[in-house]
Symmetry: C2
Subunit: 415 residues, 2 copies
Amino acid sequence: MSNVPFFSSRWVSGPDNVTEAHDGSLPKGFRAAGGAFGVKPDGAKDVALIVSDSAETTSAARFSRSGAQSAPVLHSRHESKLWELRAVVVNSGNANAATGQRGLEDAAAMSAAAAVAADIDAHQVAVASTGVIGVPLPIARITSGITALGSELRADGAADFAEAIRTTDAFPKAVSLDVALEAGTVRISIQAKGAGMISPNFATLLVFIQTDAALEADEADLLLSVCIKRSFERISVDGQLSTSDTIVLQASGASGVRIEPKTADEQLFGEALDAALRQIALLVARDGEGARRVGRVVVKGGDQHLCERVAHAVGDSPLVKTALYGADPNWGRIIQAVGAALPGASPLNVDISIEDIVVCVNGSYIEHDEQALAEAVKRDEVEYEVVLPGDGAEAERYFSDLGHEYVTINAEYTT
Amino acid sequence: MSNVPFFSSRWVSGPDNVTEAHDGSLPKGFRAAGGAFGVKPDGAKDVALIVSDSAETTSAARFSRSGAQSAPVLHSRHESKLWELRAVVVNSGNANAATGQRGLEDAAAMSAAAAVAADIDAHQVAVASTGVIGVPLPIARITSGITALGSELRADGAADFAEAIRTTDAFPKAVSLDVALEAGTVRISIQAKGAGMISPNFATLLVFIQTDAALEADEADLLLSVCIKRSFERISVDGQLSTSDTIVLQASGASGVRIEPKTADEQLFGEALDAALRQIALLVARDGEGARRVGRVVVKGGDQHLCERVAHAVGDSPLVKTALYGADPNWGRIIQAVGAALPGASPLNVDISIEDIVVCVNGSYIEHDEQALAEAVKRDEVEYEVVLPGDGAEAERYFSDLGHEYVTINAEYTT
């Protein structure tokens, strides 16, 4: 990844005031570590800890809306002060989901061990687990691992942390960015894992974001909320919702640069965070278990709700996804998905274009350059536009394809 | 198929008064034909016509609810007298969908040609097309084909008709059943095609049902409605809705046996139709483009709407479908799908069993015989039970698996 610029998608522009940092350091005030403690059978790293040393740390967090939330999600939601999280402790290889009272006790034990290791209050720890569902954690290994990591925390520990939170990811999803503001330069680091709420035994999207900017907790919450809506809430791998998705933003303030609400600096910081999370989300979609290509559908029309519904229907359609995988220019699958999302709307006045080639006007095929279309759908990123009647509303959705690797990973991996 | 009894699923029992007819004849009063007229590039049969010779014929029909209905669906809905359809004309190889005004004119031309061939009014013809979307019909070939079929209509033409309506189906889905009623014996014949609203270029579920019983049109409509709810509306192949799904029931009355409303005979006839359509629906699910296995999920609880929502979520989940394909006993995918369908319900009190082996109680794993479970999920038909809090409500869903053949057919077939 080091030779590829982080902002690699044509759908995301890295802001001018943002530069990629390659020194391996977390934002000021943060230390992290990750190690192998026997949760994963293959001996890979599986326990991770990240700590802010600043007592002024603010934070914000978001979790899966699943009705079957994992024990660590339930624990963090109910026991943690999500606005002043100093530490995040994670294990991979086991999701601690569908594990009942024992699961809640194990999540509490992870939190307690991290609190001791970081010398903070247990309410300032968020817990996350990712992996197989319905199997109790090997909790003794994990808590002794957390204790061991306490003495290994380092400012350049992000790579180990990022490695230890991963499961089936085909490539790492982590970055450090320096963001030049009027008040000075701050750093944003992100470590993410996930092939988008998708993987069977190793489900879950985990995203951890640190900055050394000083942010009010309310402001951190607002920024995170806005950026998630434009990034992770717009991707579809297989339309599935994990029991365990967790996103945490921590701001240590250790840079001395304070971001005040409604200032130019807040705007600049927000744009940087937005671009970074959109790019991470696209990496997650691209990693969608064997994905060859990523699609983007933009739906325009007069009704925001209908535009959203159609964008979801297109992005989640297995027929559209297999066409993307196979570089099949068959736009009939797009209109099929649009029609399915709008029952009773027949006859439907819809225009469809693929990579700016208009293939359908007012619900009917139109002559187009089929050779050019066949070439266009072979690209790494393929863009579809659907125009419904009316204007003023627009929805966007990024989606991975559906190919043999998805079936192989999900069907042939034996639990 | 001739060696396999029609009622092959353990989830459907053939009623005692129903016997399979193997004489090849349609119900009295019906004649059918099918032939190859160059719509399909491979020279297979692609135009089909079925006609009732009785002026007393009643009928009922149902269509895809897609907002992008195909031209023949729009034509049949708006131009045909759906309660007295004498003929159904079908082409395969081209769906005549997303074809605008030209498409509507072509559908009308098919209807007109069939009316001439059958010597009936054009309003008594239903039109159906299945195949590629967004390409104009080769209408001249089709109308001259319809004319040719007019002189080939035969009482034993059901097999040719059934063959000509098929596209990617791996096996035929047709049957003739004799149903013994108090007033006499009537015949029900069914010709269906479809791998369930699934296939990319050759989408669509088509089901044509004939009987020589005499039925009021209202009664035919009611029976069809009830039976579809219990059959085709309970199957999921890939959760997609075709532009073109069409189901037509015709009753010629030529047996002389009249089925009066609210009689024992109506009950017997309804049970036979119900069993037949459920079995056809299961054949469609089993044929779900390369499916190895069919799953059935039964969801019980206190809220009918939530039970339906959970049954859909489980049956449509690509993670559940790939597990079914791979005979993976990973029930975590079931609870993941249940949780995704019930946002905000955490912690969720749900019990899950697979083939009567209880794997989850009150949202938490429970010790079970893993060896027995591993064997149970290898069966051709696998049953899952999900129990939500409360009682009195129940929903059921049949679903096909998701395997390599699905990807191959949908991604690697070049349009």
